[in-house]
């Protein structure tokens, strides 16, 4: 059984269910839980649900400490950029403790942050900094693209014994989708094939999965069948599914909301070039954001971002056809 929910409500449903299931799950952050009638406060009380000052380094650091001491904190960070003021805690503290202690401790921590808010939020609140985290030993990185995955990946993140950076795309916040009822877990490291096709493989993450699917519809009208893959987690990264698809299609287009050299796409391209080279019948093409600080003005913002049409054009390039309506 399932029910329809907006993406953001699906995340909340997972946190609620996990907090009901496990009293060691904590949820805290800025500008939440400020009144007694908020649902989390009402359900779980002030010990486990707290508002913090604007102190990201302390918030994340305290999450690490509470995790070391046996709890499962979820830190509400709102925007991925807010982690930048606390980057030592994100990439050089909690993720290192298990190794540095020779396996004595575990750090079950979820850092929940929105990203990619390219809807007029201008230079400092629109970033797609996902790839900053994906190669960091000890961290896991989750990038849901559907409401169902938003729920299932959050539940898995909370139960995971490692620090997890949970990145939800702000452009998807109100996208509705069918969400399974009750306990629902989506495993890490298992890509979803969002659309089957034999002519080209398109890989997108988060919001760009929608772009890939939109492009696939444009291309289908031209007789090109694209396979669309959503890795769902960047670390662990399901390379076998991507390589298997490329082995079938011989062509790969990667879509990423980040700028090119800071994108997950570039990492995937490198893996395919190394491990799938013999399958490729055309060069890999990456459709990423242009190397610019995201502009405020709408036409400029749209121009630097990937789009359905840019993805479709890249696919036409790798399959060697001209646009049908050029």
């Amino acid at each position: 059984m399932s029910h329809e929910l907006p993406f953001i409500a699906a995340i909340n449903e997972a946190i609620m269910l996990e907090m009901e299931r496990d009293e060691t799950v904590l949820y805290f952050g800025q500008n939440m839980a400020t009144t007694e009638n908020e649902p989390y406060v009402d359900a779980f009380g002030r010990d486990r649900v707290r508002v913090t000052p604007i102190s990201e380094t302390a918030e994340i650091g305290m999450g690490i400490g509470a995790a070391l001491a046996g709890f499962r904190p979820v830190v509400e960070l709102y925007m991925a950029e807010f982690m930048l003021v606390a980057m030592d805690q994100v990439v050089n503290e909690g993720n290192r403790f298990r190794a540095m202690t020779g396996g004595q401790v575990k750090v079950p921590l979820v850092l929940k942050a929105g990203y990619g808010f390219t809807a007029g939020w201008a230079g400092q609140h629109t970033g797609t900094i996902n790839a900053l985290f994906m190669g960091v030993p000890g961290l896991k990185v989750v990038v849901p693209s559907t409401a169902a995955d938003a729920k299932g990946l959050m539940a898995t993140a909370i139960r995971d014994d490692n620090p997890v950076v949970y990145l939800h795309n702000y452009l998807l916040t109100l996208e509705h989708g069918e969400v399974p009822d009750g306990e629902y877990l989506v495993p890490f490291g298992e890509a979803a094939i969002r659309r089957d096709g034999g002519d080209v493989t398109i890989v997108g993450t988060g919001w760009t999965v929608d772009g890939a699917l939109g492009a696939a519809e444009l291309l289908a009208a031209e007789g090109i069948e694209a396979e669309v893959i959503d890795p769902r987690t960047l670390n662990p990264l399901d390379m076998p599914t991507i390589l298997e698809s490329v082995a079938k299609t011989g062509r790969l287009v990667l879509v990423d909301q980040a700028t090119r050299h800071a994108s997950a796409a570039t990492v995937i391209a490198g893996e395919v070039a190394e491990h799938g080279f013999s399958s490729l019948r055309a060069p890999i093409v990456q459709v990423t954001a242009l190397d610019a600080t995201v502009p405020y003005s709408q036409p400029l913002e749209a121009w630097v971002m990937p789009s359905d049409e840019k993805v479709a054009a890249a696919v036409r390039q790798v399959v060697g056809t001209a646009a049908a309506t050029a």
């Binding site: 904590l26 010990d47 486990r48 707290r50 913090t52 000052p53 102190s55 380094t57 302390a58 918030e59 994340i60 650091g61 305290m62 999450g63 690490i64 400490g65 509470a66 995790a67 070391l68 001491a69 046996g70 709890f71 904190p73 030592d88 805690q89 050089n92 503290e93 403790f97 298990r98 190794a99 540095m100 202690t101 020779g102 396996g103 004595q104 401790v105 575990k106 750090v107 079950p108 030993p137 000890g138 896991k140 014994d161 490692n162």
Partner: protein, 345 residues
């Protein structure tokens, strides 16, 4: 080896304190000598706490068996006072298989969860919020646990010091912040980087900004440390919130061994007062205040210990730490594949 039961400062506790101070000093002397006696065994950066023994032992003596603590990269002393196996500690510092952290952490990252030592960060001030997070966990559990958070004077210039003390006071967390002020941040003198110090104030005045008690003590006197930190621990345990204790001392070794590329023998240089500031008088004066012989003198003078008993303790500690060195040197290196074993839980 465990601290005597009870909290009164009776003979057992005073002798235990002196014994732990000796053990810390001798352990670190052996670490320091390893650079010379066994070149190549020590790698990277190592930081000694000589001069801080009284503060470490006086603080650790206040903890109950279920209490927890966090420290910095200058972390050898606390677990010794807590009863951690010194053989495993030395093996860790030598990067060996039988190391406390299986040779992956090294000197800067000693951790002993089984004894309540939950972690160390090598990044200045980064461990302060970790300790506060554990204190939040203790507050939720309601079993009366307290967390000690050790850091240096330099850490109080990091933003997360301010962030964490604010939250700890706001939430009345069961934590005591023990700032060990050894006068130097690497080779920057405290008065060169701290506005309070530069204006003639103690660093404990910082506590006023967070509406918590702040107190400055002579960290070379283990009894004063024990009484002050003990009162702060009792306050935290009672649910009345945190305290900032500035424990003043003098670091008797340089900040750390020299930072040198492979091929250059590592060693400890002269203390910064001598090496950088051309002020050997300051360093000589500090040596005269060395807390370890000072505490011996006091215990012998007031009849708590005889000189013979004190000498016997020293001899026993030398044997113990020689055994730790031997154990460390004889322990094999870990299998290389173990480098990947603990990346993820």
């Amino acid at each position: 080896m465990a601290a005597p039961v009870g909290k009164e400062l009776d003979r057992d506790r005073l002798v235990w304190m002196y014994h732990q101070m000796l053990r810390i000093r001798e352990f670190e002397e052996r670490v320091k000598r390893t650079f010379v006696e066994h070149p190549g065994v020590m790698r990277g950066h190592t930081h000694l706490a000589d001069g801080a023994e009284a503060s470490i032992v006086g603080s650790m003596a206040t903890l109950g068996p279920d209490d927890q603590f966090f420290a910095t990269y200058r972390c050898h002393g606390y677990p010794i006072a807590r009863g951690t196996d010194v053989n495993a500690m030395m093996a860790e510092i030598y990067g060996r298989k039988d190391g406390l952290c299986k040779g992956i952490g090294g000197s800067m990252h000693l951790t002993d969860v089984s004894n309540g030592f939950l972690g160390t960060s090598g990044i200045v001030a980064a461990g302060i919020p970790h300790a506060a997070g554990a204190a939040w966990a203790a507050q939720i559990r309601k079993k009366g646990q307290v967390v000690l958070c050790f850091f240096g004077d330099g850490a109080s210039k990091q933003g997360v010091f301010a962030e964490t003390l604010n939250i700890a006071s706001l939430w009345k967390l069961p934590i005591v912040f023990v700032m060990e002020n050894n006068g130097y941040n690497v080779h920057t003198r405290t008065d060169q980087e701290d506005a309070n110090r530069a204006n003639g104030e103690d660093l404990s005045v910082k506590a006023r900004a967070y509406s918590m008690p702040g107190v400055t003590i002579d960290g070379r006197d283990p009894v004063e440390v024990y009484e002050t930190v003990g009162a702060a621990v009792a306050r935290a345990r009672a649910g009345d919130g945190p305290t900032l204790v500035e424990s003043q001392m003098y670091r008797l070794s340089a900040h750390g061994n020299i930072i040198a590329p492979p091929g250059v023998p590592l060693h400890f240089p002269e203390h910064e007062a001598v090496e950088k500031f051309g002020n050997p008088e300051e360093y000589e004066a500090a040596l005269k205040g060395d807390p370890v012989p000072a505490f011996r003198g006091r215990l012998v003078a007031d009849g708590t210990l005889t000189a013979e008993e004190a000498d016997a303790l020293i001899a026993a500690v030398r044997d113990e730490m020689q055994a730790a060195v031997t154990f460390g040197l004889e322990s094999p290196f870990p299998e290389v594949e173990s480098a990947l074993a603990y990346t993820y839980a």
